[in-house]
């Protein structure tokens, strides 16, 4: 009996390995290891650390695509909101800490900052859903993907320029969250900020995964993504779930923004680069596939690191775009497959 189960699992693993998803994951790992042997440990470490952060942004994007069926172009702007909130919350904290270095805030301050950004990001998501997307949904669901996409384009323009108008265009940045010596792994140094940001990303990704698969609300979100009418029929309040999803997705972006403030100072169009990265990841992994996005983030990170390593800085736009074009040609639904109905069926 046990043997049989083992054999079954083994067979499934083998089958997965032979699928496209399995092959790419294995290839990614192998390439990463080879490059590491060739150039040194920093390749691997950089990939992992960069990948973790990209995952946070990409996951939110995949969520809006998968559940709300909105190809979000304004996702970077919620990242921007995250950086903005974090800047205004953390600056006074760090001033206080610089005069009271022993205070508990030296360690907890950054976390407080990130939580604040998360809350404001979620509220921004709620506002956009109520004021923008729900209005369109009420009026017409026809051609939804395209219309909602244009809405997000408009939203992005509005948010960027609102930042410019109310907070000015200067760079609002900080030195770092946690002071102290960098960690060192495999002879590679990683600053505390990056290390903790990575851990934070890992925790958030894990918590999010748990939430989506095992909780009642998480399941309801997935149900809505697969069939809205069906969800209504079993008693799931659609509006509530859509609102929740939007705020979750925006909160994820805001966490990423706040967590990376030490690298991306806040300014109006800071969200563009994370947005492009997130889109790369989401297309690569499959539109709307939230967990695939996590894997995809690491692949894109590796691609970026390798491009800089072997081709040169500044090509990290051209090479991923070219690769994604190739992927779209051969596997339009992405490596891990797409879960979006409206996009695939229409």
């Amino acid at each position: 009996m046990v043997e049989q189960v083992e054999k079954r699992i083994w067979e499934r693993v083998l089958k997965w390995c032979r699928s496209l998803a399995g092959l790419t994951v294995i290839a990614t790992v192998v390439i990463a290891l080879l490059a590491t042997l060739d150039r040194g440990g920093y390749v691997l470490v950089n990939t992992v650390v960069t990948g973790g952060m990209t995952a946070l942004v990409a996951m939110g994007l995949a969520l809006t695509l998968g559940v709300l069926n909105i190809p979000m172009f304004a996702h970077g702007e919620y990242f921007m909101i995250g950086t903005l909130v974090a800047y205004y919350v953390f600056t006074p904290i760090s001033e206080y800490v610089s005069t009271h270095p022993e205070s508990l805030l030296a360690f907890w301050g950054p976390l407080v900052t990130i939580v604040a950004a998360m809350i404001i990001g979620a509220l921004a998501g709620v506002a956009s859903e109520l004021l923008v997307f729900r209005q369109l949904r009420k009026r017409s669901r026809e051609n939804w993907v395209m219309n909602s996409f244009l809405l997000t384009v408009g939203l992005s323009v509005v948010l960027i320029n609102a930042h410019q108008l109310f907070f000015g265009a200067d760079f609002k940045g900080i030195v770092g969250y946690w002071s102290g010596m960098p960690f060192s792994i495999m002879d590679v140094y990683i600053s505390k900020d990056r290390g903790i940001a990575f851990i934070l990303a890992a925790v958030v990704v894990a918590a999010f995964w748990f939430f989506m698969t095992y909780t009642r609300t998480g399941r309801a979100i997935r149900a809505v993504s697969q069939d809205e009418t069906g969800a209504l029929m079993v008693g799931i309040g659609l509006n509530g779930i859509l609102l929740l999803t939007m705020s979750l997705s925006c909160a994820l972006a805001a966490i990423a923004g706040a967590g990376l403030l030490f690298m991306y100072p806040s300014y109006p169009s800071v969200g563009l680069e994370p947005l492009y990265m997130a889109w790369f990841v989401v297309i690569l992994a499959g539109l709307g596939n939230v967990l695939g996005a996590v894997m995809g983030a690491f692949m894109v990170a590796l691609l970026k690191v390798l491009t800089v390593e072997y081709i040169g800085s500044g090509w990290d736009f051209v090479v991923p775009s070219a690769l994604i074009i190739v992927i779209l040609i051969f596997k339009p639904s992405g490596i891990f497959g797409s879960e979006v109905r409206g996009v695939l069926d229409k």
């Binding site: 399941r219 309801a220 069939d227 209504l232 079993v234 309040g237």
Partner: protein, 235 residues
């Protein structure tokens, strides 16, 4: 009366489909709604289930007016719809689909009981419990859809065209399951194209034409009615 629909008007956008539809269903009854294509049968069910907003009229369920409530609120009050399109969650397993069906039940024990009930009714679903709904055959999906509709232990089950696109063998199975349910005391309102068959199994029926109720009565009487025979059987 469990369900009382009074002078219901409904439609899509500016297009009105239902005109002054009135009907009633009593607890424990097996009622059918028949009518030619495009008469508005599915629209009636969808309006009762809250998926289409009524333009006028009243829907009383258990004495409460539920007209205009959104679908989830209606579902919470004990009405379950098994729609034509089934609306399954295709990327979830059978078990997860059933669990979603019991979304309104928070009590773990009660959920378990319902699951056992459904699995008893459709042993085939037990075998398939870890399969993704999207990969199941048409008939299995129909069973799953009915099973999911039964999960919340509804006071009223609305079933829309259970035989649509099903092979004869499976159609037979589905009808048998519905019979079993009725004998277990579930109230059912059935919409079905196969009029002869439908009128043979149900207690009472309504005939809907062009969005209006044209006839109603005991199913056995309707089966002999000249008008019904002319419209549906062409004789």
């Amino acid at each position: 009366m469990l369900l009382e629909v009074k002078r219901l008007n409904a439609g899509y956008g500016f297009l009105q489909i239902l005109r002054d539809v009135s009907l009633t269903v009593d607890t424990g009854e097996y009622v059918c709604l028949v009518g030619p294509n495009g008469a508005g049968k599915s629209t009636t069910l969808k309006t009762i289930a809250g998926l289409v907003t009524p333009m006028g009229g009243e829907i009383r369920f258990d004495g409460e007016n539920i007209g205009g409530l959104p679908g989830n609120q209606v579902a919470r009050r004990g009405i379950s719809l098994v729609s034509e399109a089934m609306n399954l969650f295709v990327n979830m397993t059978v078990q997860e689909n059933l669990a979603m069906g019991a979304y309104t039940i928070r009590d773990k024990k009660a959920q378990k009981d319902r699951l056992d009930f459904v699995y008893d009714l459709f042993p085939r679903l037990v075998e398939r419990r870890n399969q993704l709904a999207g990969t199941m055959s048409g008939g299995e999906r129909k069973m799953l859809a009915i099973g999911r509709g039964l999960m919340p232990n509804p006071k009223l089950l609305l079933v829309d065209e259970p035989s649509f696109g099903l092979a004869p063998l499976l159609t037979e199975n589905v009808f048998q399951s519905l019979d079993t349910l009725v004998s277990q005391g579930v109230t059912i309102m059935l919409v079905e194209q196969n009029v002869t068959k439908t009128l043979a199994v149900t207690d009472r029926g309504y005939v809907l034409e062009n969005g209006r109720i044209e006839l109603s009565g005991k199913s056995s009487d309707l089966a002999c009615d000249a008008h019904v025979r002319k419209v549906f059987l062409g004789v």
